[in-house]
């Protein structure tokens, strides 16, 4: 009996293994002809002639991106793209705090996806993604001429364009506040750091946590520091240039220490609440709508997101003002944004280019914008923006003076974003001082500059 049972078991296992081999083999066979059928034939679905669509084929493009970079409306467009061309987009979404690690590990292992997401930035494309070796040159694509030149500048390395950026140009990080809480406590929009502190104190005394700060994601709390680039420029003109040329250190720049010290003060006074270190970014809407927090650092689209995420809440209950550290009253702008690159090692470069061209078609971009609650405008002219009264008022009040944020204006900064995040968390738990954080930034900048053989660092 035992013998029969074990014989059956072995037979089962062997047939299972053989079966698996068989399907594998079949897959390879069925894939290879479609891989080699590179002959494109025109298809009615696409409008552009330069990007003539191949006949429907069984191709899957893998697309690695960080959480929050891929919007639902893009996935809908990808479905439409698959209907038209048969090219399937396989989205691989990685938690945001680990994205750069995963991408670098995959590239180092030679397992790069067909398309990968990355933050653009004129200093970062080389050191961060080594685009000359890892990405495909897209300079001659049709959409390059239509995209906002400020954004193209950030996607360019050694005068070649490497990425497609479709992002909201109005998505600066600003303070979003709950008008009702402010009105109940008789508070006005603060116009200086001192007024901001006073408002926080009053809010905290009323039992509401002043600021929702999701530190656990590892990146959000860093924003408070470099986003103030416009203010640093105003306080200390020329600082950015000196930092780029290594004529000044972060450690010695008083304005930088000032903003970090003020951020730390907010922490130590408990204005971020007890749970800041375990708060998560994805819970922002829920927590803001619940009225447990009075303010958060977010983009101008947050009220609309709250309204669509939490039933019974209204977008009109929220207002905006700029980050108040260092008495800032100006608008920070970041023309570097999550972008899409094509891997140079991809077997399907043409299909990936075709996908980019498809996304950049005006009617598809309008669809993309109309179906994305976080966005109010796009960085392509001709796409109709959707500002409401509050947003219009904000841009009218603060939009006069704008400046570029530090992660884009300063070299060797953006690649160490999550490391700065760790340093700033360490500062929040009193293991580091603001000065230590700045010293660590200098140390990592030096390390990167030296390995990049930068002439300004010797």
């Amino acid at each position: 009996m035992k013998k029969i049972a074990s014989t059956l078991l072995v037979l089962g296992l062997v047939s299972g293994i053989l079966g698996a081999c068989g399907t594998n083999g079949n897959n390879e066979n069925s894939n290879s002809p479609s891989d080699s059928s590179a002959n494109p034939t025109n298809e009615s679905g696409t409008s552009s002639n330069e990007n003539s669509a191949p006949a429907k084929k069984d191709v899957t493009l893998s697309y690695l991106a960080s959480q929050d970079w891929i919007k639902d409306s893009e996935m809908k467009l990808a479905e439409k793209f698959e209907e038209q061309t048969g090219v399937h987009i396989d989205y691989q979404i990685v938690p945001s705090d680990q994205y750069s690690n995963v991408l670098k590990a995959k590239m180092a292992a030679g397992e790069a996806p067909d398309i990968f997401g990355g933050q653009s930035g004129k200093f970062d494309l080389g050191p961060l993604y080594d685009v000359e070796n890892n990405a495909v040159d897209l300079t001659n694509e049709e959409w390059v001429k239509r995209e906002d030149p400020l954004y193209i500048e950030q996607a360019t390395w050694n005068s070649k364009v490497y990425a497609l950026t479709i992002w909201d140009p109005s998505s600066s990080w600003i303070m979003v506040y709950n008008k009702k809480i402010f009105a109940d406590l008789g508070l006005n929009v603060p116009h200086s750091y001192a007024e901001f502190l006073a408002a926080c104190e009053k809010i905290k005394a009323s039992g509401v946590t002043p600021i929702y700060e999701p530190v656990s994601d590892g990146w959000h709390h860093v924003l408070w520091f470099p986003e103030l680039g416009v203010r640093y420029q105003e306080q200390d003109p020329g600082l950015a240039d000196k930092l780029i040329k290594n004529q000044e250190k972060f450690e010695d720049a008083a304005v930088l220490e000032q903003s970090l010290t003020q951020f730390n003060e907010l922490t130590q006074k408990g204005y971020f609440g007890e749970n800041a270190l375990s708060n998560t970014y994805v819970d922002t809407e829920k927590n803001m709508a619940a009225g447990k927090y009075a303010m958060t650092l977010y983009t101008i689209g947050l009220p609309a997101q709250i309204e669509s995420a939490v039933p019974g809440s209204h977008a009109s209950d929220y207002g905006f003002f700029p980050i108040p550290l260092n008495d800032n009253q100006d608008l920070n702008v970041n023309p570097a944004a999550p972008s899409k690159f094509i891997s140079s090692t991809s077997k399907h470069i043409e299909e990936a280019k075709q996908y980019f061209a498809f996304l950049a078609q005006p009617e598809n971009m309008q669809y993309y914008l109309d179906n994305e609650p976080k966005f109010t405008a796009l960085n392509f002219p001709g796409v109709k923006a959707k500002f409401n009264a509050d947003q219009q008022e904000f841009f009218d009040t603060y939009g006069k003076k704008t400046g570029t944020v530090y992660q884009t204006a300063i070299n060797y900064f953006n690649p160490q974003w999550t490391d700065i995040g760790k340093d700033m968390s360490a500062m929040m738990v009193k293991q580091l001082t603001p000065k230590d954080v700045l010293k660590n930034i200098d140390k990592r900048r030096e390390q990167q500059a030296k390995t990049a053989k930068d002439a300004n660092w010797k």
Binding site: N101, K104, L277, P415, S425, M428, V429, R444, T451
Partner: protein
């Protein structure tokens, strides 16, 4: 000298695989730890002991990671062995649903660490997590903690999760050891009037020593290469509080400093080799004595 049964070339294929996939990569790793291998340049240069000087310099945080790794290893060895032995004794007794208990205790060992991490992140959540909610419900609100984000608690929480997950496995090994001890020793001791404590001290422990050695070596090697538990629960945070060697290696690799990363692994390799050698010597001495 026994006569060779098979000619040497029978192992040739296996040996080639071993050389190509185990020996050569290891030696390459050790070599690369003496170079400035990084993600920014395509050529690497030999730089001697510079990477090791970086690791052991007081400006850097690496010694903190090494210290955490050692603290983790020692505390998990002790906790897992003590709790595992206690549980093994319990489920070795005549209790109801003995097998069910054994399965339940062993269960965490087969759950992937990533899943455990996600579950415990929610259990440890200070606002609505199971532990703090339970404490508040029974009126112990003052005992609630920021389990994973408080500097005092984060590393202890990580150790607790790892002990929860690993104890069942150790228990099974010790249980097998316990069951191999002949019952007649205990009967004889009972006739001589030995107490339960004396039986444990003079019969169970000495006869369980081989099993204990195995579990200690397993725990030792597991503890020194700890990564996943820390990575999924805190990723070294808050700040750098819970960094261990492999989370530091990981972040060095993501910064593109492959050289320093491999040098850290080499340091750990040396520590592991020494401890492993000592452990194997201890084990083989047991065999001779037995």
């Amino acid at each position: 000298m026994t006569k060779r049964m098979y000619p040497f070339y029978f192992i040739a294929i296996a040996l080639v695989f071993y050389l190509v996939f185990a020996v050569i990569p290891s030696l390459m790793g050790i070599f690369l730890s003496f170079t400035d291998w990084n993600s920014y340049s395509r050529v690497t240069h030999f730089i001697g002991f510079d990477n090791f000087a970086t690791i052991f310099s007081s400006d850097e945080n690496y010694l903190h990671g090494i210290k955490n790794t050692i603290v983790f290893t020692i505390s998990t060895i002790i906790l897992k062995t003590v709790i595992g032995l206690f549980l093994a004794e319990l489920v070795n007794k005549k209790i109801k649903f003995k097998n069910l208990h054994r399965v339940l205790i062993f269960m965490p060992a087969i759950i992937p660490m990533l899943v455990v991490g996600i579950i415990f992140k929610s259990i440890f959540n200070p606002e609505y997590g199971l532990i703090n909610e339970a404490l508040r419900t029974i009126g112990l609100g003052q005992w609630t903690q920021q389990w994973l984000t408080d500097v005092q608690w984060a590393f202890k929480s990580i150790i607790a999760v790892d002990v929860w997950k690993g104890t069942g496995y150790i228990m099974v090994i010790l249980l097998a050891g316990l069951q191999s001890i002949s019952h007649s020793y205990y009967e004889a001791a009972e006739i001589d009037g030995a107490t339960a404590m004396m039986k444990f001290r003079f019969i169970t422990l000495p006869l369980l020593l081989p099993a204990l050695t195995v579990t200690t070596v397993l725990n030792l090697l597991y503890g020194l290469k700890i990564f996943d538990t820390v990575y999924v629960l805190t990723n070294g945070g808050p700040g750098y509080t819970t960094d261990v060697v492999y989370t530091q290696v990981f972040s060095q690799f993501s910064l593109g400093s492959y050289g320093v990363g491999t040098a850290l692994i080499t340091v750990l390799f040396v520590i592991m080799t020494i401890l492993g050698y000592v452990a194997i010597r201890l084990m083989s001495r047991e065999e001779y004595n037995g």
